[in-house]
Symmetry: C2
Subunit: 106 residues, 2 copies
């Protein structure tokens, strides 16, 4: 199944998981404690996040720690870049208009 970062972050539970493990690696059990759904449901989400390389596994005995691959998040930032340019341009244009009005008042 093809996985895509945009599809991965579409689900609110997955965004919550991302936020949870952003600061420290966690095991599936520990993550699941924060949600109402079963451990297996969380496990499925973790699989999807792993498939698109948003998280990485680190085995430690029988426990598996999941870490956020923050680098991958930059892909969204990169995609946003084109639109950021647009809204910054618009802001500057608005700024010009406002300063022109200001000058006219003087």
């Amino acid at each position: 199944m093809r996985r895509d970062i945009f599809q991965a972050i579409a689900d609110p539970t997955r965004r919550a998981i991302i936020a949870l493990i952003a600061l420290q690696a966690m095991t599936p059990n520990a993550i699941a404690e924060n949600f109402n759904s079963t451990r297996q449901a969380v496990s499925k989400h973790l699989r999807i996040l792993t498939e698109c390389q948003l998280v990485k596994q680190q085995q430690q005995g029988r426990e598996i720690y999941y870490t956020l691959q923050i680098e991958k998040m930059k892909e969204i930032d990169k995609w946003l870049e084109q639109y950021r340019k647009i809204w910054e341009t618009r802001f500057n244009q608005l700024d010009k208009v406002l300063s022109t009005i200001k000058k006219q008042k003087k």
Copy 2:
């Protein structure tokens, strides 16, 4: 039906529509010409984009122009902010390590 901007941008066709109308407003027909699917399928995507206020309609005779509401895109930027902080911190830490190594070489 509840609509969410993250769900809206999850679909590749919708992201393409967003990119298309980012620079100039377009009618559903004109937008649909750029895709292999039917005009009605594009119309459905436009409905979803409208529902989460990513696009706005402007009637002009029997034509309807769809405009991107670039402001709405900032919501994603805002969500990314927390992670941007993390990756910038990590970069700075790496930077410190590197400059320490440099000093030691001297």
